[in-house]
Symmetry: C2
Subunit: 371 residues, 2 copies
């Protein structure tokens, strides 16, 4: 049985135009180990936005409704075109993750028909998607596709952060942009596991939200005494690892400096090299596109660097990855539950006003595409 699908595509032209379209695609029948998933929910994560919109200027978004289907365009500022040259002229399917129901399967995967499953197979902003059965998370009776839609990116990132912490010998951690969907999940996970977490938020309301989830350490980067709050929370928890979604500006460096200040206050070093305890900040997002800065006075045992879930999973290997995935299935309605600001159709996802709303990346907001 063959299936057709409509899928969302993003193209950047050599002239610097972003084009968002909906294309018809004829799917090949599933192979012996493959299934056809009817996608019923696929979230728009920050990592999706980077591919979907590229460096387009949202102010220039416009839609042409003269054809059978809308075509949305926007302008890429010329100085950013070089950064995306590898994708110029390529019509790229979108959507890192999503969930739905298995509606067809090859001979070795027929037991999956009717199951609610999720996948992080890419091109999930589509009605139907052919996926290898082995790449699915299969959910028990009673879990809906909407509940299962965000089962990979955020849950595995939260688990990956704790896995990194243990692998690299730290015992507590700091998280910035901590009131995000991911941050809320990490808070719940750390409460469950008894891991001390210092949450860096930007408002008292965000702090209250996390405290309601059981967060013990919340510091506000907009408070005048932020550095003292941060150093004191780091001192109390012994955190020497941070995950930073802000990326640019002074925040990552301030965290390293606060860790060093807490360590030096505890064990004053005689020599000029500061504390010998390694302090690490991983930048996993770049809400602030300005340069990352690290001040002097952080000693010699420090590191700041990029962190990407896929690199981490490659590092820990398939078996450890599968253990994390099994934990997500167990906790999909509790620890790893996501909530959504709005549900939108594929066509609505091309509306300039809707794009500007989901592209804002407002803290705690998250959109779900229901194809």
């Amino acid at each position: 049985m063959t299936h057709t699908t409509r899928e969302l595509r993003s193209t950047i032209t050599a002239e610097g135009e972003l084009r968002l379209t909906i294309e018809d695609v004829e799917l090949s029948p599933p192979g012996p180990d493959e299934v056809v998933v009817r996608v019923e929910g696929a979230p728009i994560n920050p990592s999706d936005l980077a591919s979907l919109l590229g460096p387009a200027d949202p102010a220039t978004l416009t839609v042409d409704r003269s054809g059978e289907r809308p075509v949305t365009t926007a302008t890429i500022p010329p100085q950013y075109l070089g950064a995306v040259k590898a994708r110029i002229g390529k019509s790229l399917a979108m959507g890192n993750e999503g969930a739905g129901t298995v509606v067809d399967a090859g001979e070795n995967a027929r037991h999956l028909i009717g199951k609610v499953v999720s996948a992080a197979a890419g091109r999930m902003y589509t009605e139907h998607r052919v996926v290898r059965g082995a790449d699915l998370l299969v959910f028990p009776e009673g879990i809906t596709p909407k509940q299962a839609a965000s089962a990979f990116v955020n849950p595995m990132t939260a688990l990956g952060m704790l896995s990194t912490m243990r692998l690299e010998g730290h015992t507590a951690l700091v998280h910035t942009a901590a009131a995000s969907n991911l941050g809320q999940m990490l808070t719940k996970l750390c409460v469950e596991e008894g891991v001390d977490l210092v949450n860096v938020v930007r408002s008292a309301e965000q702090g209250a939200l996390l405290s309601d989830l059981g967060a013990q350490y919340v510091v506000n980067s907009n408070d005048d005494d932020f550095r003292e709050q941060l150093t004191s929370a780091i001192d109390a928890t012994g955190a020497t690892l941070a995950f930073d979604a802000v990326g640019g500006g002074p925040l990552a460096g301030r965290i390293v400096a606060a860790m060093e200040a807490a360590l030096v206050a505890k064990t004053p070093p005689i020599g000029p090299y500061g504390s010998p305890v390694h302090k690490q900040v991983y930048v996993y997002g770049r809400l602030d596109p300005s340069p990352t800065t690290v001040p002097p006075g952080v000693g010699m045992a420090w590191g700041v660097g990029g962190w990407l879930l896929t690199y981490h999973l490659a590092r820990i290997g398939a078996e450890a990855t599968n253990e994390l995935r099994a934990r997500v299935v167990d906790g999909i309605t509790t620890t790893f539950a996501s909530s959504y600001t709005a549900e939108i159709s594929l066509t609505e996802a091309l509306e300039p006003d809707v794009i500007r709303a989901y592209a804002r990346r407002a803290t705690g907001e998250k959109y779900l595409i229901t194809p």
Copy 2:
């Protein structure tokens, strides 16, 4: 047999005064495994300056010659006093490394008497030093103490950089402040080992000096087309690791960005995460005390962090460390030879004008104390 010695001391007072003095010390007789070294040469490395002068302002240096021995003082700016509070009131002996002749020994170390040895035992700015025989490098007949004086810090750092490169899976490297004594040594070592090295210098003269030593890749950070030169040299060598002595300012970040640009040009990534190849810059000095900055556009596989020889040697362990030490002995008059701007006595090392000269850290300049 007991020995007395005169040693150079550095003290910071609670009032923010740096005091450099020469003190008489009665040495205990050597234990069964110890020797007494008559120190005949001890270099002033940048790492010594950090302890010797701390954050004192060199412009405030003054000497009091009214007593039997000179006492040199300088002012620590109040804002820096917190950073050195662990050493306040402590009279610290100085000098990380040095060499001399064994003049006395305990019963198990008598075979070392008369040998030229070097040690990185600390408090080497002294006439006599008691050291464990096992901690010495022992040089063959014909090597002078002056030749052996800088056998640890720079040679082991150069070897440690190559050892880090191999341990972390890189095949070529970038070095900044490349015309320094250490940089010249690293150039010779890389020529010998056939490792591609990109030397970042600040003048054409510095570049010529390295080219004379066989350097193939020299780029000048004061040239208008520095970024293009750097990216092109990184592309030619495949360097994904750098050691940066400048530390502050944009240089470390520019190196990461150049590595990313070279990688992306070779294998353009379709997705928004840049090249998956890890790019690493280790900051091992801070000639520039301003914040270290890393621009956006470096992908997600990058790291910038501190690097200290002692941490690296602890990481590779005693056996690997001893292999490196043996290589230094073999190459002390060739690959690992040092030259000195001037030789100064302990008393001269307290003269304000002399201090200002050796504290300048001018490229390629190095002073030797001959106690």
